[in-house]
Amino acid sequence: VSGRGIEPGNGLGIERGIGRALGIATLASVVLVAVGVAGMIATQTPPLDRAFPPFEIGRLPADVAAFKPAGFLWLGLLAVILTPSVRVVASLAGFAALGDRRMTAVALVILGVICLSAFLGAGG
């Protein structure tokens, strides 16, 4: 992220770097989803089968290493859901580099809310 000395949010500065980071993360997550869907086609998995595999983050590496479609599907979906956080992290770095303490705090609060979502979603 570049743009030191340029006011963010005013049309120049850190936005382009953040946009590039977001674009790369989006493409990577969609590719993972596409690999998972290709796996569904290859294994003839019916999509409306009610018994879908549960999301277990500990099983992801093994499922991906074994080229199981469910592993790529869950990894892709997790990546999709976390992609906006990449933008927030990139913004945090950009605002911190610019010395904008208020916006750095805003980015931290947003990341805090996302972490709280994960904690409460997991039943915490």
Binding site: A25, V30, V109
Partner: protein
């Protein structure tokens, strides 16, 4: 397996329609998955949130690289949309399907009325408010924080209204699986003095984090069916990407009329589902 191409095709259609008309795909995906594929409403909402994040992230990336969005304003408001989406995600698991169906029917009616009135919703076709009406008046007292979020040629005001509206948009997003742009764009443009194009881009930016907060709750509570969400999201990504390149060649007037008809029909179906 024959349902898989149908799901991808449904995603492509929803993504293309949504992109051409400036709406997120959520208002289409939820009815398609519930009424067309027989999914429970909560599962459809969860799948829709995933789709909404994909389209928002792709669009926000472009908007940011073109310097079209107000990053400071978007991030300030998304603190509240994300917090409300977190609450909405938790509440959604406590609400019966019928209540969600009735709320969704009301949302579809609201979107239909907005489109008939020709607001342009998120399409950004309403001109640039800053160019039309430069704001040279002194800032209201106590609105210094909002003024700090202003951009070139316009001054942001009424941050309190923005916070309240953002809380509502976040709640709607997580409960009904939509981006909430239908609330945020008019809120920023009409209520806070942000030019329509900037409001549209900024809303798109906010949708990702908002849906992400709700989506995490659905993911970790077992509410997302990967066999449905993944092919639909892939289709939406393809549809929205293709439509963005065709937008200049499509006659939007007839498409919009058809869309309003589809929305009204779907609202009736969802209403009946809620009342039955």
């Amino acid at each position: 397996v024959s349902e898989l191409p149908l799901l991808i095709a449904a995603g492509i259609g929803a993504g293309a329609f949504g992109s051409l008309l400036g709406l997120g795909g959520g208002v289409l995906i939820v009815p398609i998955l519930t009424l067309g594929f027989g999914l429970p409403l909560r599962e459809a909402v969860a799948a829709s949130l995933v789709c909404v994040i994909v389209t928002s992230s792709a669009a926000a990336s472009v908007y940011l690289q073109r310097d079209a969005a107000n990053l400071k304003l978007g991030m300030t408001l998304e603190m509240f949309t994300a917090a409300a989406a977190l609450a909405g995600g938790l509440v959604a698991f406590a609400l019966p399907d019928r209540a969600l169906a009735l709320m969704f029917a009301a949302l579809l009616l609201y979107v239909s009325v907005t489109m008939v009135r020709g607001r342009g919703v998120e399409t950004g076709d309403g001109g640039d408010a800053a160019a039309e009406d430069p704001d040279d008046s002194p800032p209201p007292r106590g609105d210094d924080l909002a003024a700090g979020l202003s951009g070139p040629g316009y001054r942001v005001h009424n941050l309190r209204l923005g916070v309240v509206g953002s809380l509502f948009a976040g709640l709607v997003s997580a409960l009904l699986g939509v981006g909430g742009g239908i609330v945020k764009v008019p809120l920023m443009h009409l209520g806070m003095g942000v030019p329509l194009r900037v409001a549209t881009a900024t809303s798109n930016l906010m949708i990702g984090v908002t849906a992400s907060a709700g989506g995490l709750v659905y993911l970790l509570r077992g509410g997302i069916d990967p066999y449905v969400a993944a092919p639909t999201a892939l289709g939406v990504f393809v549809g929205a990407s293709v439509a963005a390149r065709l937008a200049d060649r499509v006659e939007l007037r007839w498409l919009r009329a058809l869309f309003v008809f589809v929305l009204l029909f779907t609202a009736a179906q969802m209403g009946l589902r809620g009342l039955s």
